[in-house]
């Protein structure tokens, strides 16, 4: 029996949608026949604004591109301009940067965990994970002066050195997180409901994944080992011991497990960073930002963020301001072309978990 097709607008005001976007669904019964994403609700024109601002003034605004995880943006822009200019970054600053990146990855995964499981009706999970995430935000507040927007990493290094006793507090928090992970396993990852709702749902075809430009945990959830941290090690990732977990299956559960296992890796990496961190300066002064002429040139740099490969293409024309900064967020592909494809055939109730598992983050799609 052929069911009548109806149009369903999911979002922008919808509790299941990630962020502020809209998916226009054609459904037959409960099944999605066609999906069309509509974005632009969060378009702030970052790239245009950066062309109006000097290089240094761009740092406070890039972190706003991705709200749950601002640090990769700062790090990317910093590294892009450093590459154009040929500026060296002190070794200690590189370690601190990696620590901040991994802490923010951990925070982003905690938030994702809350969103993913909360969306499936496991209401205790967000209470735990978002509550625990706050301890990382406390650390960030102490380190950078801001809970959410850190504006900490910038060209030439980082803004301030670690505060006194920070290392101990980070280690304590990491110990706490490590002790919490088995609890999360029991609550979420072993949970029958969670498994039931995620295994075999939202499958990305392994063959297609590469061609579609899938990156990050969704790609590793297809069993493909691809991670900027090992492919093109930046900062000091080549000095750390870590593995890039891959899980076969390509479904929501596989992606969840990739993230779950990466959390362990992040905790271990943070410990290594703190252990190996050398002394010395943390900031190689850039010229006075009012007169900082960055030489002509361009650079494409990328970072592995919690949602995948973050790429920045920066062009300088030798003036005070960037000629162009193009931000390629992982959600750009995940949230539009990939989502539209894998939603076809899914149940309406699975749309939101699928979006969550892909890490669709509208502010980095439209910027």
């Amino acid at each position: 029996m052929r069911e009548k097709e109806t149009t369903l607008y999911l979002g922008p005001q919808h509790p299941g949608i990630t962020g502020n976007m809209m998916v226009k669904l054609k459904v037959a019964g409960d099944t999605v026949v066609k999906a069309e994403t509509h974005v632009g609700y969060l378009h702030r024109a970052f790239e245009k604004l950066m062309e109006q601002r000097t290089w240094m003034q761009s740092f406070p605004i890039v972190c706003r591109i991705c709200v749950p995880e601002p640090d990769p943006n700062e790090e990317n822009l910093a590294r892009a301009v450093e590459e154009i200019e040929g500026r060296e970054v002190p070794e200690r600053a590189k370690y601190i940067r990696v620590m901040a990146l991994e802490l923010s990855r951990l925070a982003a995964y905690m938030l994702w965990m809350g969103g993913q499981s909360g969306g499936l009706g496991l209401y205790t999970a967000p209470q735990w994970s978002v509550g625990d995430r706050d301890y990382i935000l406390d650390l960030f507040e102490e380190l950078t002066g801001g809970r959410i927007y850190h504006m900490y990493i910038w060209a030439g290094g980082v803004r301030r050195d670690l505060p006194d006793g920070f290392k101990e507090r980070v280690l304590k928090t990491m110990d706490y997180f490590e002790s919490r992970l088995p609890e999360y396993d029991k609550l979420i990852f072993d949970n029958a409901i969670f498994k039931k709702r995620t295994i075999g749902i939202g499958v990305i075809d392994k063959e297609k994944a590469l061609e579609w430009g899938v990156v990050g945990p969704p790609l590793r959830g297809c069993g493909i080992k691809h991670d900027v941290r090992i492919d093109e090690p930046y900062e000091i990732y080549d000095k750390l011991e870590f593995e890039v977990p891959t899980v076969e299956g390509g479904d929501i559960y596989a992606r969840a497990m990739v993230r779950r296992r990466e959390m362990e890796q992040s905790i271990s990496m943070i410990r290594q960073v703190l252990d190996k961190m050398p002394g010395g300066p943390v900031y190689n002064k850039v010229p006075n930002p009012l007169n900082w002429y960055v030489p002509k040139g361009d650079a494409y740099v990328k970072t592995e963020s919690a949602r995948g490969e973050f790429g920045y293409y920066a062009v300088s024309d030798g003036s005070l301001k960037p000629r162009r900064v193009h931000v390629r967020g992982p959600a750009y592909v995940h949230g539009v072309s990939l989502l539209e494809r894998i939603l076809v055939g899914a149940n309406i109730s699975d749309v939101s978990p699928i979006m969550n598992s892909l890490g669709v983050c509208p502010p980095e799609i439209e910027r």
Binding site: Q13, N20, Y41, H43, R44, V67, V130, G131, R147, I148
Partner: protein, 181 residues
């Protein structure tokens, strides 16, 4: 003996007491300030202590949080959401962007002063406001409600034309149903 006037007063007091302790927030993360809503609502800051909780639909909700900048495209949806909400309804503006444009003061796609387009009852300072500030905002709102000063919705209806004029100035294609029946 109480006369009618006193009775009305008592009803008002009971009403505003009930209102201020059950503020349901429409689940619409309009901007980046939405990232501080989960911590506020969950175990660490636990806003439910104040009777604040999420509501999936605008029609059941009392409070609309404008969490920061509004892109013009979102403004249109926000107006629609706001107009769908039933009185009593309140609007809270988060952070610098809702006050005078914040960081996006020169962006071609974000509005600068929210109170030109929607009646705002409480503004919270910050970029973005911390959970403490958010809770303070709610406390301020509760206080205004109990004092009977949170009258944004009435103001909106009274000055609808003025608001519409401002809204129409930035939204080029106004193809929306009118919910202000």
């Amino acid at each position: 003996m109480y006369n009618d006037k006193d009775a009305k007063k008592i009803v008002d007091i009971i009403q505003s007491y009930a209102r201020k302790h059950s503020l349901w927030v429409v689940a619409y993360g309009t901007g980046c300030g939405a990232i501080e809503i989960p911590p506020t609502m969950t175990s660490r800051y636990d806003a439910e202590r104040f009777g604040i909780r999420g509501s999936a639909t605008p029609r059941q909700a009392d409070v609309l949080l404008i969490t920061g900048y509004l892109a013009v495209k979102t403004l249109k949806r926000v107006i629609r959401t706001y107009e769908q909400m039933q009185a009593p309804k309140f609007v809270m503006g988060f952070g610098s962007c809702t006050i005078n444009g914040g960081m996006y003061w020169d962006s071609y796609n974000t509005i600068n002063a929210l109170d030109r387009y929607l009646p705002v009852d409480v503004f919270i300072n910050g970029c973005m406001p911390r959970p403490e500030a958010v809770i303070s905002g709610f406390i301020k709102l509760q206080q205004l409600i109990s004092e009977g000063k949170a009258e944004g919705a009435e103001k909106y209806l009274k000055n609808l034309e003025w608001y519409r004029e401002n809204q129409n100035k930035v939204i080029p294609n106004w193809n929306m149903p009118d919910y202000n029946w």
